[in-house]
Structure formats: structure tokens, C-alpha cells
Amino acid sequence: MLARVQEAAFDFAAEVTAFQSTLTRSGAVVSFTGLVRDDTGSLDHMFIEHYPGMTYAALQKIADQAVEKFGLEKALVIHRYGRLQPGEAIMMVATAAAHRKDAFAGADYLMDYLKSRAPFWKKELSKDSATWVAAKDQDEAALAAWSSESAAKES
């Protein structure tokens, strides 16, 4: 429904406040924020590359799918690219629905799709190394689970 790709930091508080302010039929709002994590204590920064021609449309499509699948009143996706410091917010999603379970499932679904279907690539840079973050098998498994869940419901 709402999607944005940007290099600049976003103001989570302002985004969520604006998101909530327009709701008319929702009783539940869920938000997720992903932060740059420094597990080893040696991360200098993260660099996120993306596919400018494709990224916005991919985010928009994922958000629309979540809205339709879970009957959301609204969904929001913001994803950054470029250089990010440890602790900085990489991205956020927000979902609003009449009922709690749909808002949670919508946000979880958005995240599963963003992980593996939005054209971003993360590189972790430390003093001694530069490593592209590898996709995980479990990311694809998470997507497959949503499809089989739909198939089960529809059958």
C-alpha cells in the first residue's frame, strides 16, 4: 500500500504516528524495525546495495499482497540502502487490521518476503574484512510455508 526506498534515515516515531493517525477500522497495529546488529563487536558499518529500477515496485507488490492476504486496512514498508552504522534502523514495516492475529501475520509475512524477494544485498565491513551476508535456507522455507498455508486453506 505504502512503500518507500531511501538512503536517508527515517524517523520511526513520526512514521508510526502518521500511519496510525489515518486508521478508521483497525483495532491492532504491529510494527517491526530491523537494526544493524554487531554480533562480533568488530563491525565498522553495513553497506546495502539495491536494484533501483526494481526495488520500489517489489516493495509495493509485497505490501499489496500482504494487505490482500490478511485483509489489512493499511501496510507500510520503508527500506534504506547505502551506508549504515551499527544500531541504525535498516527498515521498518507497519500493519493495521481489525484483529490482532491478522496484523501480526501481515507483518511477519511482509518480513519473510522482504528477506528473499526484495532486491537488496547487505555487505558487512570491518577493519579486516568485507563480507556479503548470505541468504539462509530457512528464508526460502519461510516463504514456502506461506504458500502451503494458502494452498491448505484454499483446498
Binding site: 536494484y51 535498516i90 527498515m91 522482504l114 532486491p119 544485498w121 556479503w132
Partner: protein, 83 residues
């Protein structure tokens, strides 16, 4: 057929550039990859493990059997790591 080919992340690093215009008669993505691999060691290294390569044709994710009819842009990249 003249194509824009885009490369991202470590595929870009191995190929050595992020974008090129390329003249080809390849019928499918797989044919195009075969042509590229034959060009030099950088391309060969980038496409050495095809299970680690994703492709988008005209900005839509697809697979290696996708035909390249009337397409203008092909992009190669590793599995995405958004979120």
C-alpha cells in the same frame, strides 16, 4: 538484440562492472549466461555456481529458462538479503 545487463553484489564484483550494453542472439537466460561465461575468467567466476545466481528479466524475477524475446534489461545477482 541489444540488452542492458546489470550485475549486483558479489556478481558485480566478480564481473568487474555494474552495467553494460550487450548485443546477443541468445534465446533464453541460460543461453545468455553461456555466452557471458565464455567471455573471460571474471564472468566464469561470477557464474560458476548457478544455484547461487538469481535473475530478473525486465525487472521481474524469473528463471534460467525464461526466453529473452523483446526484453531490454537482464539483471544477475545473488539471493536477496533484504529486511
Amino acid at each position: 538484440m541489444k540488452l542492458d545487463i546489470l550485475y549486483f553484489a558479489w556478481v558485480r564484483e566478480r564481473v568487474g562492472h555494474s552495467q553494460e550494453t550487450y548485443e546477443t542472439s541468445a534465446a533464453t537466460v541460460a543461453d545468455l549466461i553461456a555466452e557471458l561465461v565464455a567471455r573471460d575468467a571474471g564472468y566464469a567466476a561470477a557464474f560458476a555456481d548457478l544455484s547461487a545466481i538469481c535473475v530478473a528479466v525486465d525487472q521481474e524475477l524469473c528463471d534460467f529458462n525464461t526466453p529473452l524475446i523483446d526484453c531490454r534489461e537482464v539483471a544477475f545477482f545473488p539471493p536477496m538479503t533484504g529486511g
